[in-house]
Symmetry: C2
Subunit: 474 residues, 2 copies
């Protein structure tokens, strides 16, 4: 349930031990856990970088490391829709806060594909623009750099990709209009009716934007000699629909009066096992003879050779038996369970941005070919729901969800908002309340929950977005 | 809704036209639809091969081509659980009936992996064996050979794979028992708890059995100079659970008193577009410069070059715009919609068995790398349902589902069984009734439904399996 030092590129101790064992050519002394190497020295950066919309707020700028003060939005800088935001830094798991957040309005003008940016600006509606609203969380690993770049840049990529398809979103008969038309009268098969809808264009724009942002991060990091990666969870409201795009292990849920609507799913080495194994099957060189693509119920050891073991290959959802061969003793491509699961013994997520330079420690094996920067996009259509005053979208990094499940978060949101009907800053207060709950209280050197379990030692970031008073579209 | 001459390897006329157009080096006369070439001459085979359990029945062996008589199981040869089966041959779409069916009991003995078959037979229970029940449908294309081999062989593969894991299914502590155990006291990470259940072993056995059957078909077809492929839908009952494994576009549903439980999903070029495009992205040579991996809303033509078109790449669930380049005029890897959708202009399904030699007409492009022989397995757990007297599993090839939707089939099943409570052959009668409905009646040269729509011209095969009186497990 908690994840001290076990996330991101914090290579798993079992894997480091295995690697040394192999490098030495076989069995030998295993170093104690305390001899585990520290993280690589990071590039110079401020220790605690807060999102733009928090800077200059009442909380002051002093380093809050020791006491892990919860920072949140206050009345002096309201966010769109009166959204609330709160965060807390990790318990010295890393030198930095690795979470980053962005929230802004996005103005979308129509831009022609292939034309210079300044050649064609068309006024699309009375307020000149289509207006979107954007909230995003980024959870960095191997340093904060990728998360910082993504938090500064992803919304520009989204804006640009939306402007390229603005015609399809707003016009009745956009170029190659979506109802199809007959291009070859003698063959009706040349007409295709794909039922492409406006929201399919927005989904495509988000998918392309994540890919472009990933490229930018790669270039920027290479140019500045920085390393690392981040997860990305972005919510975009546009024309009556909320689009939630997720790559990584953050999570968004919509909490309605009577139901919870999950708006994302997590992408980890475990949830994407078959994709990762399939790639290793297609390109065995990616494993450089150091890893096995098979999954086993536990690590195998020398005297398992010749025995019968349970295993899964890329095409299997079920399990089978195989006889253990020597090659099966290699470290598994996907290994570990839950928060301990690792891709190539190295990374706890299978999708995200950055990590272009990441190699498996002491090898030439690149992790990036196995990573995907493409988000899965889920759509919440306001027209299909009778939105009540206390209905909210809750977005948070894994620091929150490691401690609290969807039901607990929804329960807290419903009771808090029911008890605080008049407070104008109640969504911000709810965000703080959620962060505080997952962080727990310091007891000696430990962070503990009220029920005696360990609390989260990770960065925790939470948006609470009220759905009732959304601004009308232009 | 119907599919005359548009299924299996019947290459699409639009594609053949395009190919000739390209071969001639550009635009020219397009031959009329009537000049479309006939299918390749098939290997010699009997015109109408009925499943073993139908042979020698009351229906006689005369060729029923013209009138498409519905054949079904009768009282003289009861199937396990009193299952009903019925079939009709296609309306001269092919020279053969391309559907095949198998139904049998499977006796599973424990076999040690890697040991000779006769070295170890253990008695597992009082009746010596674990008993499973098996129903399967195969829908051939490019000739009946693959379907015939699969109908003779898949249950042997399943039996063999189940025998290899029989220990895990029946023993309290099977080899590498599934609750995990600590193999390295100093590192708790060496224990993995994967929560592997008995049913995961059965699913793995089914996945492996389909793969093995596909290899056998490949060898057999190569040895005998035959070609073709088939879909496979197999249901296995074992120890209180019904496993439905599907590769292709057949379908199984469980019809309960108040609900319908879908037990399979279809694998077609459309439903597997992203997998197919991704493979073409990873291995562009598979397309040999003849196809484009992009999807467009319609076929592009010369004067689209330089225009803006909607497109999707492998990573996109949404759509975007791109400027048309000359390479985009190539034939799309996945093209067409619904029953017209084709992989490489050639095949209407994306999973199945066989097709090892299949090439795109007049090219060296192989289709097999894009095909998957792996089924998706769905489980129906009898313990979670209060099974009523009229509850049934209905399995059918696409000939039925092209005409009737799940709801219509469920409605027919419920009313027929409610009105025929005492007929001992009512499940067989229901199967015939479903086949008759989808086949329709001959009006002049056409097969028509009662409501004036065209009926199915395809082979139609249906199993109706009652769930209430299943034999007790051994």
């Amino acid at each position: 349930m908690q994840n001290k030092g076990q996330r991101g590129t914090t290579t798993s101790p079992a894997f480091i031990w295995w690697l040394r064992w192999v490098r030495r050519g076989g069995p030998g002394e295993r170093p104690g856990g305390s001899q585990e190497p520290g993280p690589r020295s990071p590039p110079p950066a401020p220790c605690y970088r807060r999102p733009k919309f928090l800077r200059g707020g009442g909380g002051g700028e002093e380093s809050p490391r020791g006491r892990r003060a919860v920072r949140g939005t206050g009345p002096e800088r309201p966010l769109p829709w009166d959204s609330g935001y709160a965060e807390v830094i990790n318990a010295e798991k890393s030198e930095f806060n690795e979470d980053q957040a962005t929230c802004c309005q996005i103005s979308i003008r129509r831009r022609e594909l292939g034309l210079e940016e300044d050649k064609e600006w068309l006024i699309l509606c009375s307020t000149q623009f289509l207006t979107g609203y954007y909230w995003a969380l980024f959870d960095g690993h191997g340093g904060p750099s990728a998360a910082v770049i993504a938090s500064n840049y992803l919304h520009y990529c989204i804006k640009q990709k939306l402007e390229e398809v603005a015609g399809a979103i707003t016009e009745a008969r956009p170029p190659m209009h979506m109802s199809g038309r007959c291009v070859c009268d003698s063959d009706p098969q040349f007409v295709e009716e794909k039922h492409i809808r406006m929201e399919d264009m927005v989904v495509g724009a988000l998918e392309n934007a994540f890919q472009e942002c990933d490229e930018v991060i790669g270039q920027e990091m290479e140019a500045t000699g920085q390393t690392g990666g981040c997860t990305a969870l972005a919510a975009l409201y546009l024309q009556g629909k909320l689009y939630v795009a997720n790559a990584g292990d953050s999570r968004a849920i919509v909490v309605l009066k009577d139901t919870i609507v999950p708006m994302s799913c997590e992408f980890t080495p475990e949830t994407e096992r078959q994709r990762l194994q399939h790639l290793a099957f297609l390109f065995p060189k990616l494993l450089d003879r150091e890893f096995t693509r098979f999954e086993f119920p536990r690590r195998l050891k020398g005297d398992d050779v010749g025995q019968k073991v349970l295993y899964r290959d890329y095409f299997m959802e079920g399990w089978g038996y195989k006889l253990v061969e020597k090659a099966d003793l290699k470290y598994p491509l996907v290994h570990g369970h839950g928060k301990q699961a690792r891709l190539l013994g190295t990374l706890a997520v299978s999708r995200g941005l950055g990590d272009h330079q990441l190699k498996v420690i002491d090898t030439n094996i690149e992790v990036k070919p196995f990573l995907s920067c493409i988000p899965k996009v889920n759509i919440f259509d306001f027209a299909l729901h009778d939105i009540k005053e206390n209905d909210v979208l809750i977005m948070a990094t894994d620091g929150l969800w490691d401690i609290l499940c969807n039901k607990e978060v929804a329960h807290m949101a419903r009771s808090f908002l029911a008890e605080n009907r008049t407070d104008p800053h109640r969504f911000s207060e709810l965000a703080k309340c959620l962060v505080r709950r997952a962080r727990g209280k310091k007891m000696g050197h430990q962070w503990m929950l009220d029920d005696g379990r360990e609390a989260s030692y990770d960065d925790i970031s939470v948006f609470v977005v009220p759905l009732h008073n959304r601004d009308e579209d232009c």
